[in-house]
């Protein structure tokens, strides 16, 4: 292996660097506040769940469809919106543009794994994201509020599911971003991911409404655990068995994706030529 100036720091260096985390978290928060207009406007572009809701509320006007009444559809899509707003991330764009413009070199010089620094930056944006998620969640809770809760989801499971959604979304997005190290740009793979995500995550249709085999497929693929699964848990639509099995699968995917992302970074950084600077 040829010596390379751009490398991922050794473990001993990394451990002492964890002290920088609170500061990095503050920087991430400050950045999200500085770009608050942009962040809020990007949230406004999430119209597709509402477009889908317009169709479903007409379809369910003369009776429930697949266990969803008209108000339950409204609840579902509002919760989907809230969860997506709270847990989405733009890490793919960050990595892709930093690779292209060469800013990634700066990150590689720091004694902290680049993935960790991205994660902390994205975490810093969460307060603002949650603030954006409040309106749809409040409408779901106080205006629409169907009484369709079948199973009371334990608090701990709910928290685990929501954190799981963030972790899975982040690791998958980072893995796609890392593809920019190999391909120069991660936009293509990102579009593919977005298309599949729209189909299998429950973003446009609750996956339980799919015909049998497709619904089973959605249960096994990772997409649902990056969104719809948590929304269904919030709405109390998962029986205890389903819930715990789903959590296990979700966190299993988080572990797998973390390993894959670390691997992609390790291989990718070796190829990285630090264009630009």
């Amino acid at each position: 292996m040829p010596p390379s100036s751009a490398r991922i720091p050794a473990r001993s260096e990394r451990l002492s660097a964890w002290r920088a985390l609170p500061t990095l978290l503050r920087i991430g928060f400050a950045e999200s506040i500085a770009y608050r207009g942009e962040v809020i406007l990007w949230m406004l572009t999430m119209t597709m769940p509402l477009v889908s809701l317009a169709l479903w509320s007409v379809v369910a006007a003369d009776g429930p469809v697949g266990g969803y009444s008209q108000t339950q559809f409204a609840d579902y899509f509002l919760v989907i919106l809230a969860v997506r707003m709270g847990t989405g991330t733009w890490v793919t764009w960050s990595i892709s543009s930093e690779v292209r413009e060469g800013h990634l070199s700066m990150r590689l010089l720091r004694p902290l794994h680049p993935l960790a620094s991205y994660a902390v930056e994205m975490l810093g944006a969460i307060p603002l994201r949650i603030l954006c998620a409040v309106p749809p969640a409040a409408v779901a809770l106080f205006v629409v509020a169907s009484d369709g809760v079948r199973y009371a989801t334990p608090c701990i499971a709910l928290v685990l599911a929501l954190i799981g959604v963030w972790c899975l979304t982040f690791t998958i997005s980072a893995a796609i971003g890392a593809l920019a190290l190999f391909m120069g740009s991660a936009i293509g793979p990102f579009m593919v991911w977005q298309g599949l995500f729209a189909i299998f995550s429950g973003y446009l249709v609750p996956t339980k409404l799919f015909p049998g085999w497709l619904s089973t497929l959605a249960d096994w693929l990772p997409f649902r655990y990056a969104l719809g699964f948590a929304a269904e848990a919030v709405l109390g639509r998962l029986a205890p068995g389903e819930l715990w099995r789903g959590l296990l699968l979700q966190w299993g995917y988080v572990v797998v994706m973390t390993i894959l992302t670390l691997f992609l970074f390790r291989r990718g950084v070796r190829r990285y030529e630090a264009y630009g600077s």
Binding site: L44, T47, V59
Partner: protein, 272 residues
């Protein structure tokens, strides 16, 4: 006769500018010829994702507000066609303008001896995005196959006429958004917000009721974009819809022209 001669030379000049712009964009597109294929494949995935709610909904119902499966597919087909035109011809220029307002490069364009709105409108084309036109036309064909009949000649002509009206509405709204970009300087994401609201044109407008329906026929007339052409192709458009579609799209063209002129007059450059 003098006036007449000058006018023809003016159209000639604008035509030459237009052709030059197109050639520039085509050269650019030739660089991205693989993107044509990639974009086509990706837009197919997007099309399937967008159709997903329909697939599932019509598993449970045979018609939605009087629209059968094939008829709604026709609306989605027209939507795909207009979205392709939008993202290939209108959106690139609009994003260029938003960026130009922010960075101040727009000033160069405004000093050129040609109509500002014309120059802004043809700033950039991304022809490879027209690949999804293919999906839209195929979808319309498949929709008629599902409905089980061939549209009449007059119906097709009317549908095309209304499609042009729809494109005019889309263009007018773009010009309104562009005028807004002059006033609110830092508005890079405005075009994207607009294009995401376009998605409401995906279904027949009769899905919406009350105030929302009124908004979607007058203020943000997505009904003219897709529902009217589909109704015309099906041979069941009402005379009032036809008249409204033509009159309102024409009026919007004029209104947006006015708004743009006011915006340019009030524009004070961002850079200096």
């Amino acid at each position: 006769m003098m006036v007449d001669k000058r006018q023809t030379s003016a159209t000639d000049r604008y035509w030459r500018i237009f052709v030059a712009r197109c050639r520039l964009s085509l050269t650019l597109a030739a660089q991205y010829r693989w993107d044509f294929l990639a974009d086509g494949a990706l837009s197919f995935l997007g099309l399937i994702a967008g159709l997903l709610p329909l697939f599932v909904a019509f598993e449970h119902r045979t018609s939605v507000r009087g629209w059968s499966y094939g008829e709604v597919l026709l609306v989605v087909g027209f939507f795909t066609i207009l979205k392709a035109i939008f993202s290939a011809i209108l959106l690139p220029s609009l994003t260029e303008l938003a960026a130009g307002v922010r960075s101040g490069t727009l000033d160069f364009l405004l000093t050129k001896p040609a109509d500002a709105q014309f120059l802004v409108s043809i700033a950039r084309f991304e022809f490879w995005r027209l690949s999804s036109l293919l999906w839209g036309i195929s979808l319309c064909g498949y929709a008629f196959f599902r409905i089980g009949r061939v549209p009449g000649g007059v119906d097709i002509l009317l549908a095309l006429l209304l499609l042009v009206c729809g494109a005019a509405v889309l263009y007018s709204i773009c010009i309104f958004v562009a005028s807004l970009a002059f006033v609110i300087v830092k508005m890079d994401s405005l075009p994207f917000i607009f294009s995401s609201f376009l998605d409401f044109a995906r279904w027949p407008a009769s899905i919406f009721r009350g105030v929302v329906h009124l908004i979607f026929t007058v203020v943000f007339p997505v009904a003219i974009l897709t529902t009217y052409p589909a109704e015309a192709a099906l041979g069941r458009i009402s005379l009032s819809s036809l008249a409204w579609g033509i009159a309102w799209s024409g009026a919007l063209l004029l209104l947006s022209r006015l708004a743009f002129r006011v915006a340019v007059r009030r524009y004070t450059s961002a850079s200096s």
